[in-house]
Amino acid sequence: MDTKDDKNFKALENIHEYEGILSQYPAPEPGEELIADIKVKIAKALQHKSVFRRRVYKMAAVAAAVIMVAAISLLFEKGGGEPEKVIYASIIPAAIWESTDLAADDAELATLTAEIEETEHQILSVQFDQGNGNGDKALVELEAELIEINSDFWKG
């Protein structure tokens, strides 16, 4: 009795033998014209593929450029602090604005504000005391003092 391996081996032998039938009846071969035609089609397909690739690269380059421009624009927009700096510089002394010593700046601003408030208070007091006789002179002194303080303020 044949073993399984023997059966498989016999089957393989039979397959090789039977396949000889197909060798005896070869199929037609492709004509030279067909081969030449296929070569032309291959060349066209390669050209098309190349053009397509170039288009894709071009589009990718354009897309990258658009993204770069957008990113740069966003950066400039975020850097919008610059105009604010200019606007506040006209109100706050440049020395204070540009200074990085916040504690010192705060103290200076507090002093200036206190001086302004005190001067305003004195002006008001003088205005109420106009009837005392020396009011005009005191008012002139106070105004001069106020101008001096303001001048110091803006100089920083």
């Binding site: 498989n8 089957a11 393989l12 039979n14 397959i15 090789h16 039977y18 396949e19 039938i21 197909l22 060798s23 005896q24 009846y25 070869p26 199929a27 037609p28 071969e29 492709p30 004509g31 067909l34 081969i35 035609d37 296929i38 070569k39 089609k41 291959i42 060349a43 397909a45 390669l46 593929k49 190349s50």
Partner: protein
Amino acid sequence: MRRKLENMAGQDDLEQMIAGCKAGNGEAFEQLLDIYAKRCYGYFYRLTGNKAISDDLLSELFVRLVVKIGSFKDGSFESWLFKVASNIFYDYLRGKQRQKKLLEGRKAQFESAAVETGQSHDERLDELQRQLEKLDADTRELIILRFYSQLSFRELAKMRSEPIGTTLSKLHRGLEKLRKLME
């Protein structure tokens, strides 16, 4: 022992050719065509029995290779090539109008063959084609695929996603039947 259909390029040459194809080299594709055109044409012809359709399918195969060659990574190139060829054949069959045309063509072919008496060499070729037609479609495709692709039984089984024993058994039974039909 099976007869080689044509001289095969060495493995190194084939790898170089495939690399050339992937790089978009037209000459590499032409070399590939020169090597495999006969086998692929035979495969299509034995499946369709029609030269004009085989011409179209062979053209379609090599144009599709230009697009698909990048997807071939490693393993047997022949296995990959005939898988693409097989897909092209089934795509063709799926086209309803073309399928109808094929069936009508076959019918006319059988009718004309039936009234002929003597057999010339060319008609003997048709005899094989006629007997192949009597096998079921799956067995017929397996026999033709095995013969023209020259794939090993293991590669065939892998390609068909079935156990090697099943492939061997189908092939053996199909060829045995074909042999009896041809006697």
